[in-house]
Each structure stands twice: as structure tokens, then as C-alpha cells.
Subunit: 451 residues, 2 copies
Amino acid sequence: MRLATLLGPDLKALLEDPAALREAFEDFHAEDVAELLDDLPEEQVVELLDALPIDIGADVLERLSADRQRIVLRRTERPTELLTEMDPDDRADILDELEEPEAQALLEQLEPEIIEETQELLGYENDTAGGIMTTEYARLEPELGAGAAIEELRRLAREGEAETIYHIYVVGYGKLVGVVSLRELILADTETPIAEIMTEKVVSVSPADDQEEVARIIARYDLTAVPVVNDHGEMLGVVTIDDVVDVVIDEATEDAQKMGGVVPLEESYFDTGIVEFVWKRGAWLVVLFLGQLLTATVIEKNQDALAATMELALFIPLIIASGGNAGSQSATLIIRAMAVGEAKPKDWLRVFGRELLVGLALGLALGCMGFGRAWFAGESVSAFGLAFAVGSSILAIVTLSTVIGSLLPMLIRRLGLDPAVSSTPFIASVVDVLGLIVYFTVAQLILHSVF
Amino acid sequence: MRLATLLGPDLKALLEDPAALREAFEDFHAEDVAELLDDLPEEQVVELLDALPIDIGADVLERLSADRQRIVLRRTERPTELLTEMDPDDRADILDELEEPEAQALLEQLEPEIIEETQELLGYENDTAGGIMTTEYARLEPELGAGAAIEELRRLAREGEAETIYHIYVVGYGKLVGVVSLRELILADTETPIAEIMTEKVVSVSPADDQEEVARIIARYDLTAVPVVNDHGEMLGVVTIDDVVDVVIDEATEDAQKMGGVVPLEESYFDTGIVEFVWKRGAWLVVLFLGQLLTATVIEKNQDALAATMELALFIPLIIASGGNAGSQSATLIIRAMAVGEAKPKDWLRVFGRELLVGLALGLALGCMGFGRAWFAGESVSAFGLAFAVGSSILAIVTLSTVIGSLLPMLIRRLGLDPAVSSTPFIASVVDVLGLIVYFTVAQLILHSVF
């Protein structure tokens, strides 16, 4: 049975029969149900969520779009039950989407223990380890025997008090002292204390660590979860790998948008309103446009040279585009290398050496091609002179752009800023202006001297 | 004790004392050891790997760079043991890095069972579900009771026959019929047969599915592993989430490089040779350069107009850059939206509508700015005429670029090609040529008519 068929004319009948409803929805993943619900009219979504068993309802609610979440929490008959049923990190996320007073009012209806837990999570920035961690994890004491530990895990799992029971954190006097896997526990002798089985070297993160850094650590060490520990060695929560996959995908999208000169979107492409869209793109376009105005000034200053040798105008786009493309390549490579930790600002000299060589090689290749094309354009000046001017300008600007394209992002990073922000169009703009200056300087030197 | 200190003068002593060596390395993660070994001289790497206990050695070997892996496999005293100890997917990967005859020779020394398993994995493309799956997973029969199942898992874990025992695949008559988690098993009554506990709706992938698609499914359904099933419903292996995190990071790097106009690098930034680097960047630069040559031709054809109104030359870079930037933004947004599954080629009409509106709004804003700047440049023609020509050209080209930038990647995708390939510079080149044509057409219409 396809999920969509459930929601046709039979929906009314289904809503009146809880058992049939549970059966109908149990077989589908909450993600699929949520996607379908995102397309239904608002009233039906609320009605349906209220009719669903509470566990399925909470699972679906956490996966709805932010808009729908707000509507459901405002109109549902059982906001408290739904919030209580959710995982702590998802509960904090959904409350974070609401207006402050509204979230506060809902929060106050929960149990004191849950309020405290949620407020703690709300205290962390969204994109930090603290912001994506869960506080429902399995923690045990080091003296416990393996057999008793499994019994305790059974209890935690039954009562839904741990998101995962496959990694158990060993906490003594409030501090994280080790980690043990369920695999190791079931392999061990039932009497062996956990302290003897656990791994003492635990890779952990701080609550303020950026989520990208957390993702990098999880990827590097092939972990499936990483504990979040504060400066005093106290354990605060766990970041699980499924949340990290989302982080990695979101960060890649954000980086791509930044590199493409767009202020990152909060929502998906189609969910972003036209006005927000214009604003997020317009901001950078205007900044870049203002920078590009310099190109007009450079040409204005060289108008006499241009009037004397009209053919120079022909190669303006070609020359600045060659520089722009070479610079974008370097910027892309180095920004990505820094993002995955392959290169650091301190490697700048090594990068400089490589890029200089690469830039010269590429500049030489393109310069020769430019020479060939310009050879056929010279009418008011010697064909060789024009060709030589165009060719050597290309060599110079491609080399320069390659070096600038790689070093500028490292400098920006070194200054503590994000190098991905609008890097490609920004570097292209810098290179456009520089390219024109180089072009006119080189051309006049050559055309006004020997030829 | 820091890891690096181990490898100073004490290394010789350490190599002669296996117990001390195991103890020294046991506390460090294989990833850290591998990183250190990547910087040591070749001889020492081989010597050290031969001295390490086989399980640690195999763990470290699979994490070395491809170069080092080849060297170790050629010179180690125990290639067969190391390969046998590795996880099947890692074993296939490392053999894939060797020359065909060399890999074949090594493969033949393994046990028949392992040879078969490895050859099966080698048969899949590297970047497909089959290429990243492991064949060591826990599979049980549906009739088994929960208690007996845990016993069987204990045996699998002890003998290292399953990479993970947290998800157990239930296979009846060779076909995948359900999945059960270790969590559910330990919660169940020991006598309950697995068939009664398992989930029958299993999300699975085909062996030929692209690894990016696998990552998308795992992220969407918050899975930690996904079974690989062929057309006949037979289970072939499992892709685990830790491999998927690597896939997502690698794909993001690859996409960024493609979008920046670089043929994706196989190795990291610093590990890529200069010649390969020049080649991978030069290929696209030359193609783009050839396209850009058209700009010279367009200007050549309009040389008379330019000679009549020299001020037109001033705004050539500004106009084509505005189009290029707007086009890159659209391309970036839509390519990323397609990559994460938010937009599909069939949505083109909806995208067209949005981008047309956005393009007009952005074009109007930039056009007004351009109008203002050009107002002050008109000397040989009326200031208003020039300003109007520049402003309306910008409006036209920004709108056009915005629409082209979003639709072209969808068309490329529709044709079955990868839209990320060189998209930004490619679209910028197309837009440069179009921009010039629009500019000269609009400018001549306006300047030669009313003003």
C-alpha cells in the first residue's frame, strides 16, 4: 500500500479508528510521513498528528518543516505530551524555532527535570557540539560488572532513556573516565568490572566546538558517537553520527553557496521566499558591483592608449576572464583543502611555491594561445607587437591570479574570517581590476617601445 | 606520552621488544599512527608495520596513503597475513590501488573463501554501493530465538566475522526478509523468534547505486547502516555510516573542485604532483579560453560602434562581470539543490519563474547603479543616452544570466551529465559572450535612435 493512498477519501475513516491508524503508519518511516504531511493542508496535519500514537507523532513532528512545526505546536491538543516524547536535542531544536515567549510558555508546562535538560541545551549555539548533542545517553559506573551493565542498559533502553546503547560512557565522580561498547560488554565475562574492559583514551569534544570540527573528528577516527566534555572533564552529552551526516551535508551546501557569492539560505531552495532570495543574492552582487566599478575607472584612465590602439579593447574580456578562471581554481582548491584540514595558513610558503610554478605553466600555455589570436587582429599597430603585448599580459595575469587566488583565502582564514565567503566572485573582481592594470601597463610598454 | 616521541632514538629499542611496542601503540588511534607513518622514511614504515601486532598493523595499513600502501605490500614480510586481517571492503580498496598483475599475485596467496569475497567486491565500481559495502555483517535466520541470536552474535564478534553487530539482517532462503537491532534483541524475551521482533520494511540499496545516493538515503532515514540487495532480493553486503561520512566529505570536495573548473584531484592538495596539477587545471582553462576567444570576435565585429563611442569600452568588464556573478549564483544554488535532492530537472518551469523574478529585481538594482556611474562618463555622447544604454544592458544581462545560470545545469543534468563540472566558469563564459552581444545591440539601438 502506498502511503499517499492512505490520505485520500479514506482519511476520515482512518482518523476514527486508532488501531487501523497505527497499523497504517507503523510500516512507514517517519521521514516519509513527514514529507507527505508537509504537503497537506494545515488543519489535516494537526488532526492527523493528534490522532497518531504519541511515539509516532513525536517522530513525525521533529521531521516536519519549521513552518509546520510551529503550526502544530500552536494548535495540537497535546503539545506537552509531544514535546516530552521527543529526544532532548530535537526538543531543543523545535523550541528554538518558536518565538521566545511562545517557547517559554510551552517549556513551563513540562516536567521540571525536562525543563532543566532543555534549557541547558538551548544555552548552546545551534552550530556547536553543545547545540547538536543529546543528553540521553548510556552512562555507567566503572565498578559495575559486565552482566549487571547489560541489565542496566536493558532498563535504559526499555524506558527510552538513551538514544543509543551501543556506546556506554563510564563516569566516575562526575568525570568521564572511559568508554565501552555493547559489543565488548557482551563478549566479556559477566563478573568483569567495566573498568577492566573500557578504553581509557576517549576522543572527546568541547561543547563550544564548531559542528564542522566535530564532524571532522568523527570522520577521522571512524567513530559513531563522540562525547561532549567540558573543561572540568565533566560529561555533558553525546553527538551521534547520524546528526553529523546532516551537518556535513548542510555545511557543504553552505560552503558552496558562500563560494558562489550567496549569503547561505536558511531553508531549502523552494522554501526560501523571493524577497529573502533577492536580498541574500543582492547583498553580494552590489558589493561586487561596487568593486567592479574600478574597472571602468582603470579603462577611463587609459582611454588615450585605447584610442591610439583600438585593437586593445578586443582582448579585455579574454584577459580578465583568464585571470578570473585561474584565480577561482586556486581559491577553490585551497579553500577546500583548508576545510578538510589538508592545508593550514602556516603552509603559505609551500602553497606559494606550488602555485607560482603552476601559474607560470598555465600562463605560458594560455599566453601562447592569446598570442596566436592577437596576431590576426593587429591593424593599426604591428601584428607582432600586439600579439606580444596580449600574450605577455596573459602570462602575467594568470600567474598573478593563481598566486593571489591561493594566498588570499589563507590570509582571510588567518584573520579569523571564513575564506569561503564569496571567495570565487570576490577573487575574480580583484583579479579583473589587477588584470586591466597589468594589461594596459604591459601593452603600453611594449607598443610604445621597440615596435 | 606523545606519539611522535616514540619514533625518535628509541625506535630501534622498541622494535626489538614486541610487548613494549604493542603497549606503546595500543593507546593511539590507528588514524594518528598512520598519519605519523606517512611522514617517516619508507624503510622505517615497513620495519615498524612488520613489528606491530598483526591486528594493529592491518588497521594502520588501511589508513596509509595509497603510495605507502603499495610500498608496504611490496616489501612487508607478511602481506598475506595483513590482507587476511583487513576488513573485506578495505582489502578490496587496497588491492584496487595496485597494478593488476601485482594485485592478482597477492590475491592468489589468500584463502579460497577470501579470494572469492574480495573478487566479488573488486567487481563493483569504486563509487557505488557495491564498491563501499562490506561483506562481513551479522546475518541470522528468522526462526532463531532472541537468546540464541545473542549467543550467535557473541560468536561472530569474537571471531571478528562482523564489522558491526548492532544491526542484524534476517535472511531466509537467501533473501533479506527483515532487520533487527541488538537493542531490540536484548529487550526481547529469550524465546521469542527473531521473525516476531524484526522490522520487515527494510530500506535497502542496489549494488550499482551511486555512493552519493547511498549517503542521501542514510542521511534521510537516519540510518547507521543500509543493506545492499540485488534485483533478486538477495543480500550482498552492508554499507555502514562511517564510510558514508567519508563519501559525503569526498563528494563535497569533488563537487567544489568541479564547480571551480578543476578536474577533481585523486589525492590531497599537497600529494598531487605539479604536472598532474597543471594538467587537471589546464584542461579546463584551455577549453574556457577557447570559448572566451568569442568575446574578441564580438568586439571586433562592433569595432565601428566602439570607435564612434569610445566610452562604451569603459563598461565592458563591469557588464560582463555582473552577468557572470548573477549567473554563478543561480548555478551554485540550483546545482546544490539538485545534489541534495531539493530540485529536479522536471521542476524547471518553477525554477524559471522564480529566477526570472529574482533576475529582474537584481538587474533593476544593478542597472540603476550602472546608470549612475555611466552618467558621469558620457563625453562624446549625451550623458543620459550612455547611462540609459549601460543601465538597460545591465538589467537585460543580469536577468538573462540568472535564468541561464539556473536552467543550464538542469539541462545538463537532464542530458545525463554532471552539472557540477566546471559549471561556474563555464556559465560565466557563456554569459560573457552573450553579455557583449546584448550590450552592443542595446547600446547601438539607444545611441543611434532618440538620443
